[in-house]
Symmetry: C2
Subunit: 425 residues, 2 copies
């Protein structure tokens, strides 16, 4: 059976990743940038704190900065030092107190803070009833983060929370890799882009196919791979010469080219012809996942040309399984931003078959997340409508899954009750 | 103790949500739009399939369209009908076959498909060795989705996978709510925006505070609340008159105004003064979460003014716990897009305390996801640097958590090994 022979030559994904990673550089050029301009980029070096933080003792509460040796006692209020307002002349002498807010540096002389609600105010004086030891309610220098602390490790894709954390302690710049530049080419004579709702509907009903594989791939990259910049996206007919020409043009400035579609013989031709055309090596020819037969990869001059299935979901699946780790390698990524990946219990078993995305509905009940696979007909690679009817994709391996077993689900919707009570809607 | 009294007056979050939702409209104006222009918007009505799909019998394989009654047999190849290429003149007569690709409509006359690898080709003929029943390897009309199927329910925030699914079957338009319009005002005399790395660092070390609460809130809305559009974002000093003036201006066209900061007495003044100034009602004054005392809400003319803590993390926490469900209600959302929320096992216990975000590192080992809380000093609301040192926020309730217990973590980074083997890096 030809089917059998095809399958035997498919490369396991982990092998394909290894082969590609060993041939592709694991970094690109670097830039020194302010951290607030580097969100989504990859730290090329550790970001290290160059000073103690706080640099001076800081109040941990709204209250009164005092000399610990004066407590308990009746202290004269001599001023206020709210956060951010710096008065170098202000100091706390014997028997004195200064009003401070959370995060404010303690005025010279003070070494403890009496929280607002633990002091009584009496015309210009505060009455403190108990002893407050040195550094009580105070963050001493370096107590939040000491000089030399690695705040962000090399390989981290900088997130907004990271940038907020860095700015808070005055770690304001870092060295980052420039973004990877990637082009997307969609091929297929049958493809068209939507125009008006009416015309688009008519063409679909006549048997034409809306070009959506590029949409899915572009979406995933934009949402979840911010270290990658899509610099070009184009739709081409099934014309080998045009395709080779366009790929070569893109390779002048892109780090990688993703080609979707052409699942027929022409695609195979492309990847057999491409190595000669671009002076490269055919490294992958078919991976062992469903819809992975057309997946091909050529490496030339440290650059990647990756062919993915033209079926929207198979193309996306190839991106997630193969392109994601390879582009992470090329971009120097070791700590990527969060993916909406849930672990869910299957409500019905899944049989063997090449690793594949199974369209599922998600359902949270009694604190347990369930994945309900959609009916078989909606699992066909020609039944993309299942994407709208489901909430996520269970990324299953080639083995049997029993009812109740846990699967990895890439979710695009959060079911009601998941994350509750913290997250409600 | 004054502290006690404060606590007793704080409103539980679920009560605050209920009070606000009962006073705020659950929808906005609607628009009829092409689905490819509505990603991120909320379906105001069910999107229903208006025709059977496929509308005509469609091949489920690359192979040969035949008349089932002619099998087994030797059939003359009379043409080809690849997907998307429509030739109305082509038909399969007795003893004939037409080459088709997956997803192509069957030519008139055919009612079964012989997969390519199950037929032998002999100069212009194919030899079929067994019987193929009616509709064998064919998707009959309506088999993928029947006319009348609800493809996307009202209340769904349209995602890219949804749009792909809808386009695939020719469901090309829908009725959507316009995006909610929201303004963000950051207040605080101590705040400044970063300029150069050097100057920014100096100012932080002098005790000034970079305005980042707005960054965190803006980030969360942009990433995870696409039905909301931030139409204005401004930083104002602690000046009540200016603040009231700006809020009133925004309320002319915004559905909601989020005010961060002013944790001191001025903020309290704001929300006691605002109801009169805008002709509204003070509905919430302090919620029972850590850093929730300054959380206030005024409802006026079906619009919301929500005050959140000026501490970046407390502000974000208020957004997630209170603003997220309330803005979901106002936007008509019942099925939001995915949040990167993981369930993780605590590697150390967490004590009682108001519901709060606990900064955690995430670690995947042997298929189990662990949350390691950062040290106590980094949990201070004045220690935002913990955001850079952690990977996510455990959103805990007011109870004790034992080691090994599961917590809900809003992650901004995915730890290595989580999602493997499907997702590798």
């Amino acid at each position: 059976m030809p089917g059998k022979r095809y399958l035997e030559t498919l490369t396991p994904v982990e092998t394909a990743i290894r082969e590609l990673v060993s041939r592709l550089p694991g970094s690109v050029e670097t830039l020194r940038l302010p951290v607030w301009e580097a969100v989504g980029m990859v730290a090329a070096e550790d970001i290290v704190l160059e000073h103690d933080f706080p640099p001076r003792p800081r109040s941990a509460y709204d209250g009164y900065a005092v000399r610990s040796e004066d407590t308990p006692g009746r202290l004269r209020l001599v001023g206020e030092a709210p956060i951010g307002r710096v008065d170098p002349g202000l100091r706390v002498g014997p028997g004195e107190a200064v009003y401070v807010t959370t995060g404010a540096y303690l005025p010279e002389g003070a070494d403890a803070v009496v929280p607002e609600e633990e002091a009584r105010v009496e015309n210009g004086y505060i009455v403190v009833e108990k002893k407050y030891g040195k550094w009580r309610n105070v963050d001493p220098p370096g107590s939040i983060a000491a000089r030399g602390t690695v705040l962000v490790e090399a390989g981290t894709v900088l997130t907004v929370p990271d940038a907020v954390g860095l700015l808070d302690v005055g770690a304001t710049e870092g060295v980052f890799y420039r973004r990877l530049q990637v082009g997307i080419i969609e091929t297929g004579n049958e493809l068209f882009r939507p125009t008006t709702p009416g015309e688009t509907r008519e063409r679909v009903l006549r048997g034409e196919v809306v070009a959506t594989t590029g949409d899915l791939i572009h979406w995933f990259i934009e949402e979840y791979m911010p270290w990658v910049e899509v610099i070009d996206r184009v739709m081409l007919p099934d014309n080998l010469d045009a395709l080779v020409w366009y790929i070569k043009r893109l390779m002048d400035h892109a780090d990688a080219v993703l080609v979707t579609g052409g699942t027929g013989p022409s695609e195979i031709d492309l990847f057999y012809r491409l190595p000669d055309a671009v002076g490269g090596e055919l490294v992958v020819r078919g991976i062992y996942v469903k819809g992975g037969r057309p997946t091909s990869a050529v490496v030339a001059g440290g650059k990647l040309v990756l062919g993915l299935s033209g079926h929207p979901l198979s193309g996306l699946h190839g991106l997630i399984r193969l392109a994601y780790p390879v582009l992470a390698h090329m971009g120097g990524v070791r700590k990527p931003p969060a993916l909406p990946v849930y672990k869910a219990r299957l409500s019905s078993p899944i049989g063997r078959g090449r690793p594949r995305p199974v369209k599922v509905r998600l359902r949270a009940a009694d604190g347990v997340l369930y994945a309900d696979p959609l009916p078989k007909v909606l699992q066909l690679s020609s039944a993309n409508v299942g994407l709208a009817l489901g909430d996520g994709l269970a990324l299953v391996e080639d083995r049997e899954y029993a009812e109740g077993e846990e699967v990895v689900v890439l979710a695009y919707r959060t079911p009601r009750g998941y994350g509750a009570p913290a997250i409600r809607f």
